[in-house]
Symmetry: C2
Subunit: 312 residues, 2 copies
């Protein structure tokens, strides 16, 4: 034990609205407190798809109601707001869970910007779903009225999509490291970080949402983590997913998982970015491992009892 | 020099909407960078009146448009969102200003909760203005439709008001101290901090906005600052304000300023909380000073060339 772990939380760890979030962060905090109690040094990152979509919708509607008083709020600022909307509840729930176990460890949220390349090809091809699911009619209206890009998402309905460039550099990395060195539990890179592009000394907000798994991976490299723990809704990564001969993966080498990914075994926008993030991390330095498992199984997976362990 | 300073930024340092904010934070960053460049150790706090009002309005309207999908967002969560809405722009502008001067100092924003007493008398008597100015007709409609409390604010129009309890404890103080020890520039206690009340181990969000001057004062005590620098729209505190024999105050003792305050020289909700915060700080420990001055005069005031210096 005593591992340094970056925990990447998926949508199920946070819920889709504030009522769900306030319930979800309790379960999430128990899972994370288990890791801390067992001696792990934990840094937390998380997604923000439904949250940033909700915030952008609210800010767009306010702007449209009175455009003089309320200028349009760029997506980057909405990502910033989602970091405290989520971080406040999460840090509070985790602080409470730790206190209940007699662990007096500060928990904090760092507002984090992440540089992206303005030439990233994703800017020409929006693909990251944000906000709630819509009917096809609602989606078509959004395209017609606001010129938004939309996609049909995994059979669950339609969603707005935005560009999702690769994370290049975490601007506030020294802040995260200082807090980690001080023994604090840090929530950082929320929603994949606030996407910015470097323009001279200026960092300009980008109209994008960075994939939280890729950003968590970069974070794990930058804080020299031993383990990237990607928590999601399934206990193990599967090949032949949903077919009669579906096979759950337990311990896999980087090479094996790479072959499955190349063979198209994992769904883009769903399991594929998690697998790719895991592969990047295990390749980044010898001895680094990644685990993909269900939120509630975090401590069991870290203790080698379940989950898909990559780079074992 | 080499002083430890808590800088409390007023509304003029941030503007009333995002367009104004993006311009204002540049001027603000120059003033703060002057202090850092001269060797001071700076911690920044700020108000959020217009910003939290804007966020609450947007979230209320979203809730009213679809209450099932979007539960009502409590004021405490809106305060949290205002911390990153402002902190992101401010940390970014200050990072850029410092980089332009060749100072590579990390700047960060800490999402900060502040405990208040649930029995604080202010809960029965809302007095803190938030949001934009309204006409009397708009204000009366808000009272009728939403049961909001409103006041006529300093001859400038009507505003919504909320409770403004006294800050009791800064929950994330250890995070602020760790970053300060690491030589970083910290933005904390934004908007007076997210107001919470202790209920067992749980911290419940409170329907309130803490006065940013009182919260900055508590912060200054807790980080053992030498100086509380309250930046506002006037260069010096005045007695007989607006009268033919108006007199600007330069160096005053705690006792002198206390006498002026007791004589009703300062406007409640405007100069009075700044004066009271300054008095609390200079009384908290021998040798502590407070300065109230105009944003653009910060470095001159710290160097003894202007401003109202309390506890001199």
């Amino acid at each position: 034990m005593g591992k340094r772990i970056v925990v990447a939380l998926g949508g199920n760890a946070l819920g889709n609205n504030l009522t769900e979030q306030m319930a979800a962060v309790k379960v999430t905090s128990e899972a994370i407190a288990d890791l801390i109690e067992s001696g792990c040094d934990v840094i937390i990152s998380h997604g923000n798809g439904p949250q940033v979509g909700m915030i952008q919708l609210a800010m767009d509607e306010l702007h449209e109601s009175d455009s003089q008083c309320y200028p349009r709020i760029p997506l980057s600022v909405c990502v910033a707001m989602s970091q405290s909307y989520i971080g406040y509840d999460l840090q509070n729930a985790l602080r409470e869970e730790l206190a209940g176990r007699g662990i007096q460890k500060p928990v904090c949220t760092v507002i984090t910007q992440v540089k992206v390349d303005p030439e990233d090809p994703s800017f020409a091809k929006p693909s990251k779903p944000i906000g709630r699911f819509m009917t096809e009619a609602e989606a078509r209206a959004l395209v017609a009225e606001k010129g938004a890009a939309v996609i049909e998402d995994a059979g669950r309905g339609w969603r707005r999509v935005v560009a999702s460039p690769q994370p290049v550099e975490i601007v506030e990395i020294e802040t995260i490291r200082a807090l980690q060195s001080a023994g604090q539990v840090v929530i950082a890179c929320g929603g994949g970080g606030i996407p910015v592009t470097q323009q001279g000394l200026h960092l300009a907000g980008a109209k994008a949402v960075i994939d939280k798994d890729f950003c968590s991976e970069l974070l794990a490299e930058q804080v020299n983590a031993d383990l990237l723990l990607i928590l999601t809704a399934v206990e193990k990564v599967a090949i032949r997913f949903g077919k009669p001969d579906q096979k759950d993966l337990e311990a896999v080498t980087t090479e094996e998982l790479q072959q499955y990914a190349a063979a198209g075994e994992f769904a883009p926008g769903s399991m594929l970015p998690k697998v790719e993030a895991a592969l990047r991390f295990t390749r980044s330095k010898p001895g680094r491992k990644a685990i993909i498992t269900r939120l509630e199984k975090a401590i069991d997976a870290v203790n080698g009892r379940t989950g898909t362990v990559i780079g074992a």
